[in-house]
Symmetry: C2
Subunit: 114 residues, 2 copies
């Protein structure tokens, strides 16, 4: 089910996509300018260091994560957030099982073409 343009998003209506390594995600909604993605991590799950031109702003929905942005690391927990300007190398390590809400602008076209 494509979530493009969905205005009301009921979490339980959307299946998880298993990314392996204790990480799974679901696309909540998007258009060409903005996309919300929910990413669930098991303890020890890793979002490998990577970078992209899209701005990313993320909310820690639950759990505890060590977030890396370039040469800086910070432990963030439920209620905290982080912002990735374009092209900065970043990653996440899950210290305690939890979920991130990632927002991208523009949208992650590469997430859709799969």
């Amino acid at each position: 089910m494509d979530q493009r343009g969905k205005q009301f998003i009921t979490d339980s209506d959307i299946d998880w996509e298993d990314l392996g390594g204790g990480v799974k995600r679901k696309i909540m909604s998007y258009d060409e300018n903005v996309m919300m993605v929910k990413v669930a991590f098991q303890t020890g799950g890793i979002g490998s260091l990577h970078n992209h031109v899209h701005r990313q702003i993320s909310y820690v929905d639950s759990g505890i994560f060590e977030i890396t942005i370039q040469e800086n690391k910070k432990i963030l927990k439920q209620g905290d957030a982080f912002f990735i300007p374009p092209n900065l190398v970043h990653g996440a390590f899950c210290i305690e099982k939890g979920t991130l809400i990632d927002i991208f602008t523009p949208y992650r076209e590469d997430f859709i073409s799969k």
Copy 2:
């Protein structure tokens, strides 16, 4: 404290701004292209019907809300989300005390100039 460009955002570092009517907010981070705002509602709190050119995508962090987008209404709870395309009239009524995570693109310059 201006949150502009903040990359690591610790929730407890940021004070709430009381908007009255059982609603308060805090700006988590932003640049000119994207802004994350946390909005806490007491039960019965109202985000009045309004519209803006900014795209908005919001996550229900906690609580239960009746969300209105144009002529449509939906009850959303923790874990759900909603997406407001540009210029659509929308509002929120808090059925059970909770918090929304609102993301705007571009940023809400009107939230900063205050």
